[in-house]
């Protein structure tokens, strides 16, 4: 009896630390993942599936590296877990902390933070090694891990609930549009080259006047002098680029919100591409930020002007910018200006690639922030990069965009006078939306503001011919062009007003 009584607790004692040990390691991973969960959750609508996977991989690799270094130094799993817990958050949120300190002490620089972190980290390692018992460390691991697990659940719960409540209700797939692809049997030899340039955040005339007071008439006059047909009252259906672009590449209003899976699915073989492919078109893509996720199998040519860590809107970038590794993201604003110029140059050169049947899709995250130039192309101070409060910042970059756009289309028309050139914004200037989101400045009449924020650039050069597009959404502009060129009989869908 006695022997039996003593054996059982021994087994339990042996088993418990193993579970606690494993739980401690998981706790350190949970803490390392916390910033990822927090920022992913805040930007869920803007993120792609690849963003989420790449960033998760990056965070896990970072955690593993930290853990292995700590394990090599401390030679104890529980202590290595605790040291990782202690180091993970300061490293992940280093830049936020540094910014806060710099507000009080402007002469504190990055390297001061690094020296301070390393000093404190080494001292903590020694303290953990010499003074903390494995039992205490195990308990601390579990307590801290538990707290952060609760924080993660609190963070993600509203999004999960929202996803299940809204996912199915919002989707209205226009199936009839897709069926026509298979039946397309038209094939001619001399279809013109087509250029669809999507300028992110390029406001139309009405929105621009409302939010900046600027009359962009000269730009429209210059476009008309080049035989463009312009529309000042065109609108996007939504304010979200991912949704709008997915919709317009399918020539149909599929949804006002896409889950990531649905968006990826809708871009696997977008109607515009499959139809043009059936006509014998080749595809050329200018892919700023690698934002357009159409399969490479469609593309004959592609221009991606920056690598993963130079892109502006992805989770990996957000996490790096908040962390101790933010210097690898810093690039002179002149680089961004050079990238923008390189994209417009490539746009010009696209008119020399093929004489006919080339469809060039250009996505330019411009004049969208980062706002890096004034109207003369001179660099702006860092403080203006995302300054939604100052409409002049946006306006300066838009005026510079005017020049670049005119310069590009002028050269394309010179090289390729039979071309079809479609210039559109994916949405207008969303100042009111961001002032509310970032600063809590409420819109008095949200419906009215959304009406103006959806006013977009819309202009079409149709081989020098007239085409009435006034008030058309980009989807209807494209459907009109497809009907005019190929006689598909697509007709128009309900306008975005």
């Amino acid at each position: 009896m006695t022997e039996h009584k003593t054996t059982k607790p021994k087994a339990a004692l042996l088993a418990t630390p193993k579970i606690e040990l494993f739980a401690g390691i998981i706790a350190s991973l949970i803490i390392a993942m916390f910033p990822y969960v927090y920022f992913a959750n805040r930007n869920l609508e803007l993120l792609s599936a690849s963003d989420l996977w790449i960033s998760a991989g990056m965070v896990i690799a970072h955690w593993l590296m930290l853990f292995l270094i700590n394990l090599a130094i401390l030679r104890s799993f529980e202590k290595a877990s605790f040291a990782t817990i202690v180091a993970a958050l300061p490293l992940s949120l280093f830049h936020i902390g540094l910014n806060a300190v710099q507000k009080i002490m402007p002469n504190v620089h990055y390297w001061h933070g690094i020296v301070l972190f390393i000093t404190v980290y080494i001292i903590l390692l020694l303290v953990i090694h010499w003074y903390l018992s494995p039992n205490l460390v195990r308990k601390l691991n579990l307590i801290i891990g538990g707290i952060f697990l609760i924080l993660i659940l609190v963070n993600i719960m509203p999004s999960v609930l929202h996803h299940f409540r809204t996912e199915k209700a919002d989707i209205t797939v226009g199936g009839d549009v897709f069926e026509k692809v298979e039946n397309t049997a038209i094939s001619r030899e001399h279809y013109p080259n087509m250029y669809l340039f999507i300028m992110d955040e390029f406001s139309g005339q009405e929105g621009l006047e409302r939010y900046t007071g600027y009359d962009n008439q000269k730009f429209y006059d210059d476009l008309e002098a080049l035989s463009f047909n312009v529309s000042k009252s065109s609108r996007s259906y939504t304010l979200l680029s991912r949704v709008e672009i997915t919709n317009l590449l399918n020539l149909s209003f599929l949804a006002d919100f896409f889950s990531e899976q649905e968006r990826a699915e809708a871009l696997k073989s977008p109607y515009l591409f499959t139809t043009l492919k059936a006509m014998g078109y080749d595809f050329n893509l200018i892919n700023d930020q690698k934002y357009i996720s159409i399969p490479d199998s469609f593309l004959k040519y592609q221009f991606v002007p920056q690598g993963l860590f130079q892109r502006e809107e992805n989770l990996a970038k957000i996490l790096i910018e908040k962390s101790v590794y933010f210097p690898i993201r810093i690039q002179p604003k002149l680089d961004r200006i050079d990238i923008i110029k390189a994209m417009f140059d490539y746009g010009k050169k696209s008119s020399e690639i093929q004489e006919t049947k080339l469809f060039t899709l250009g996505y330019f995250m411009f004049p969208h922030h980062p706002w890096v130039v004034n109207e003369h192309g001179a660099p702006l101070p860092e403080s203006e990069i995302k300054n939604w409060k100052n409409a002049d910042t946006y306006l300066g970059q838009l005026k510079f965009a005017n020049k670049l756009v005119l310069d590009m289309v002028n050269e394309i028309i010179e090289n390729d006078p039979q071309a079809i050139i479609i210039l559109v914004g994916d949405h207008g200037y969303r100042q009111a939306f961001h002032l509310e989101k970032l600063y809590g400045i409420k819109m008095e009449d949200p419906e009215l503001e959304y009406f103006f924020m959806r006013n977009i650039l819309s202009a079409v050069y149709f081989g020098g011919e007239k085409l009435d597009i006034e008030g058309y959404s980009t989807i209807n502009v494209l459907r009109t062009i497809m009907d005019e060129l190929f006689g598909l009989g697509l007709g128009l869908i309900e306008e975005a007003n």
Binding site: P106, N107, H109, Y110, W111, H112, V115, L116, I118, T119, V120, I122, I123, L126, V127, W130, P327, I330, P332, K333, L334, A378, P379, L380, P381, E382
Partner: protein, 171 residues
Amino acid sequence: MNKSYKILLAFVVAGLVLLLFSTKIVLLVTGNALEKKQIDTTITSPDLHYHIDIISPPEGLLRSVFIRGWAFDTKYQADTKRQITMILKSDTFAYEIPTFSESREDVRDAFPRYALTANDLGFGGTFSSIAIQEGKYELFLKVGEVGAEPALLKTNKTFIKEGVRFEEVLP
């Protein structure tokens, strides 16, 4: 005091020392340290033409300022190698900042009367505003052909360094 306390104390002291000298070390290691010099800027040449195209605001970890423009001496010989350096002059001392040279066909075309060759008419240079001592500075350019005596010109651009700010003082 036992050994472990001594080791901890040693790390604290080492950390503090590094913290105090880290800016100097970083500037030296990255090649951004600037030496104070005495440069006579009283004699400037009337034969020099110039333009400053870009003065970037301080950016990045080192709060680097980039200045780009062009300058030439009307007495330049064709196809010679030219060199331009920037001088930031305060009342008591100056910093001399090397630049890279670039070809400027637009400048050559704008001044046909001087029969210039385009090479090395343009320049660009970066310096860390952290390396600059607080004070007021005038920007001069030292322009000349390699191997010949350079001439100085005053750009009429003045900068002020105050705390972390480094800004052009607009007239």
